[in-house]
């Protein structure tokens, strides 16, 4: 009897562990797999899950979220590129995974051939930030400090070849700043290093540090994404300061190349509804995330342009390029 019980128990555990989406004809006729290319608990994951609940309502089919994080988002994206283009596997995507990283190192997908951008759903918002108790109240004061102390000031990014790194390096190049880049593995460690006073300035997404900004522990000096932030409306953007570029990366939805146009249209409409849904906007707003829809074709063109623009600059910014 004991042995039987054990067999049943273990079988139940196994069944639980391998219970995945059940596979079952007009699109969508079965659940859609959404591969999130960052880990559970982060901003991309949270935004994707908040949006997918609304998109599920519109599509009348479940979106099954799966996290496939790692290697700057390329792991998740390559999984989408590898999938069948039938509309049942889609994923989230960040700008560097398509426009920058493939120029730095080998990736098993051709970013503009194997993937199609369904739509962009949310611009990531970035800024250059210093500690709340640091003496620099404005961007000019900080630049002044760097110029007076050549080779002493450190800036941190979330890794080499990320937009955080490239944009900050390019700012330094245009202003002729002699400062040092310290790459961290992700925003969490970067923020900890700033708060602990181990680096002088960081470029990070603003949503992840919203609470610290409100508490005065972190001061935003310059908004590096395109538009001013709801969180700190008085802080100038790079455009305000006369720079001709900014830090543009959207969270977008990608599908494998060959996905039928009808499916792409339906998916795009569902995510448009999600981006414009009051409930989604409110839930995201609490986390300082601000969904904004952009059609896939428009975003794809933008990515191609960004890819050329940044690609030409990489060697100048000290990044090794993959030949």
């Amino acid at each position: 009897m004991g042995r039987k019980l054990l067999t049943v128990l273990l079988a139940m555990v196994m069944a639980l562990a391998i219970a995945g989406p059940s596979l079952a004809g007009d699109y969508p006729s079965k659940p859609i797999k959404l591969i999130i290319n960052f880990s559970a608990g982060g901003t991309t994951d949270t935004a994707a899950r908040l949006m997918s609940s609304k998109a599920t309502e519109v599509l009348q089919q479940a979106l099954i979220c799966m996290n496939k994080p790692g290697a700057g988002g390329t792991l998740g994206v390559s999984e989408v590129a590898r999938a069948k283009g039938n509309g049942y596997t889609i994923g989230t995507c960040n700008m560097p995974a398509v426009a920058i990283i493939p120029q730095i190192r080998q990736v098993p997908y051709k970013p503009f051939k194997d993937l199609v951008q369904v739509c962009a759903v949310m611009p990531y918002e970035y800024a250059l930030m210093v500690r709340g108790d640091s003496p620099w109240k404005t961007w000019e004061e900080f630049v002044d400090h760097v110029k007076k102390n050549p080779g002493k000031v450190t800036y941190a990014s979330v890794g080499t070849g990320t937009t955080n790194h490239l944009v900050t390096a390019r700012i330094g190049k245009e202003l002729g700043l002699d400062w040092k880049h310290v790459p961290f593995q992700g925003g969490v460690k970067e923020t900890a290093a700033l708060l602990g006073g181990h680096v002088d300035i960081i470029n990070n997404t603003t949503a992840s540090v919203a609470s610290s900004v409100k508490a005065g522990k972190i001061r935003v000096l310059l908004v590096t994404s395109e538009d001013r932030l709801k969180m700190v409306p008085d802080v100038p953007t790079m455009k305000d300061k006369g720079f001709k570029f900014s830090q543009i990366s959207y969270m977008s939805i990608v599908a494998p190349a060959g996905t039928p146009q009808a499916a792409l249209d339906k998916l795009s409409a569902a995510f448009k509804a999600a981006c414009e849904d009051k409930g989604v906007i409110k839930a995201c707003g609490k986390l300082d995330l601000h969904p904004k829809f952009m059609p896939g074709k428009q975003y794809q063109a933008m990515l191609e342009q960004l890819s050329t623009e940044w690609g030409a600059l990489l060697p100048d910014l000290g990044v090794k390029v993959n030949k």
């Binding site: 054990l6 555990v13 901003t43 949270t46 700057g72 969490v188």
Partner: protein
């Protein structure tokens, strides 16, 4: 303040929330106890479900699940020498020898008591001392962390190996394997051989399942080849073999307390983690013991120390999360998602904007620690019964679970291949008496040492004096040097003593190893 606390209590201390915490602990310890499956997987599977629940219920359940799994891992570590979770790798070192002596019940209960004490200690710190601890944690920048990790590497390298040389071989192999993936500073590929799957490095969980669980199955299969119906466990009729005596608990309290402090410290530092905590806890117990030679052979303090340390990581891991918005441990990062989806943005404003929810959560956490004294008891019984099942029936099931566990974390078949590779490697490591545990800890600490060292040198502009001019960095560097000197001196003394013995009495012992 009092009003906040009473409101927090009325919000948190409901039957439903208790049920959530209890359910979390049960699920966590169950999945933790099953070799191959683990708590991180349980939390990742649970998290999307919790999005529609109340924040307290959801977070209490997730944290319960985390704690439960950290304890649960010790059950299979002790009974089968196959740690159910990576945190329990150090627990197996003395837990399994105890099982072989028929003292499985004693080891399981000691692990439970130590776990609960560690958890209560850490949750209390979380509730009363979060701001100063968070401030202390922030003082650890790249230079300080580099030296701290160096110190950790010096003290725990080679744990579980038969000799120093074999310990060093395992350590070097672990560090080498950890370099696979993207270079942390330049993000160029290293040893990836064109495989995108390797860009993310060798998956820790998949590797662990292979190295610690599958290898053990292979070893024990071989042992059981001749007698497939042999039972794994020795039975003992001594009632003391299945309980912790008062004297043993009292004797272990110092160790448990020190381990709790160590564990809380490791938890509060972002990225150091519970595996490191467990090994450091084990090491301090061995070093400060009057009988260090008993460790690895079934010393009860060797079970208490890592279990108190790894459970103390959980509560403290939430300290930087609630005060700074920075998760202190891997599972804390996943739990951060549960905070966010409920509109609780982690960071310094959390306590200001939602004090009742946060204090309510703290109370719930401390209370749920006491549930841990009761909830895993049936699992213990079940576990002891499972190992009385003949190996021929048990091991195929464990192997299947290893495959599921390796696949389940990221639904990636590549992880299964990694698991099998390390299963076979682990088999040979065990055969050659090279400690898989030493490889594991080096695999975890090696890349940290590399990243922090290179970051610190970037900050200083290549000047190594940063490691001595920063006081905390200098302190840990001195500790590391001190530990090397101390070990060398002790080894020399032991050698002399051993030679003395050889010369004076037993001529037959001459050929024996003395290390």
């Amino acid at each position: 303040m009092l009003e906040t606390l009473s409101n927090a209590a009325s919000q948190a201390l409901t039957l439903m929330n208790f049920f959530g915490a209890a359910l979390g602990i049960f699920l966590g310890s169950l999945l933790g106890a099953i070799p191959g499956l683990n708590g991180t997987m349980a939390i990742a599977l649970l998290i999307p479900i919790t999005y529609t629940w109340s924040p307290l219920f959801a977070i209490a359940m997730l944290v319960g699940c985390w704690k439960g799994s950290v304890y649960g891992g010790s059950i299979s570590a002790i009974l089968l020498n196959a740690p159910g979770t990576p945190e329990a790798a150090a627990t197996a070192l003395d837990g399994y020898p105890l099982t072989k002596q028929g003292k499985a019940g004693k080891a399981l209960k000691m692990a439970l008591y130590a776990s609960v004490i560690g958890a209560v200690f850490s949750d209390t710190l979380l509730m009363v001392a979060s701001p100063p601890i968070a401030a202390l944690a922030l003082m650890f920048g790249p230079a300080e962390l580099a030296m701290l990790i160096l110190f950790a590497l010096v003290v725990v390298a080679g744990t579980g190996a038969k000799s120093q040389i074999k310990g060093l071989i395992s350590t070097a192999l672990g560090i080498l394997l950890a370099t696979v993936g993207l270079d942390p500073m330049t993000t160029q590929q290293r040893f990836t051989f064109g495989s995108i799957d390797l860009d993310a490095g060798i998956g820790l969980l998949a590797m662990l399942i292979g190295l610690l669980v599958m290898s053990e199955v292979l070893i024990q299969m071989e042992e059981g080849w001749k007698d497939a119906h042999a039972e794994v466990m020795v039975k003992s009729d001594d009632p003391d073999a299945s309980r912790v005596t008062w004297a043993e608990l009292k004797g272990s309290l110092g160790t448990i307390f020190r381990s709790s402090i160590l564990g809380s410290f490791c938890g509060a530092l972002p990225g150091v983690g519970s595996i490191t905590a467990a090994f450091m806890g084990y090491d301090q117990a061995r070093r400060l013991s009057k009988h260090p030679e008993r460790f690895g052979k079934g010393e009860i303090q060797g079970v208490a120390a890592p279990e108190a340390a790894n459970n103390a990581v959980c509560g403290a891991g939430l300290i930087p999360l609630v005060t700074l918005g920075i998760p202190g441990a891997l599972s804390a990062a996943v739990i951060m998602g549960a905070f966010m989806i409920h509109g609780l943005a982690p960071g310094p404003m959390l306590m200001v904007e939602h004090p009742e929810t946060i204090y309510g959560l703290f109370m719930l956490l401390i209370l749920s620690d006491f549930f841990m004294l009761v909830i895993p008891l049936p699992l213990m019984k079940l576990g002891q019964w499972v190992i009385s099942v003949p190996r021929a029936y048990l091991f195929p099931v464990i192997l299947a679970l290893c495959v599921i566990g390796a696949f389940g974390t990221h639904q990636n078949l590549f992880d299964v291949k990694i698991m099998v590779f390390f299963g076979v490697l682990g088999y040979f490591l065990k055969k050659w008496e090279l400690s898989p545990a030493a490889l594991l800890i080096a695999f975890i600490l090696g890349p940290m040492a590399e990243v922090y060292l290179r970051q610190a040198l970037k900050i200083s502009g290549g000047d190594p004096s940063i490691f001595v001019t920063k006081p905390l960095a200098a302190l840990f560097l001195a500790l590391a040097v001190g530990a090397i000197v101390w070990t060398t001196l002790r080894n020399r003394r032991d050698k002399k003593a051993a030679q003395g013995r050889v010369l004076s009495s037993e001529p037959t012992a001459q050929g024996q190893k003395v290390e």
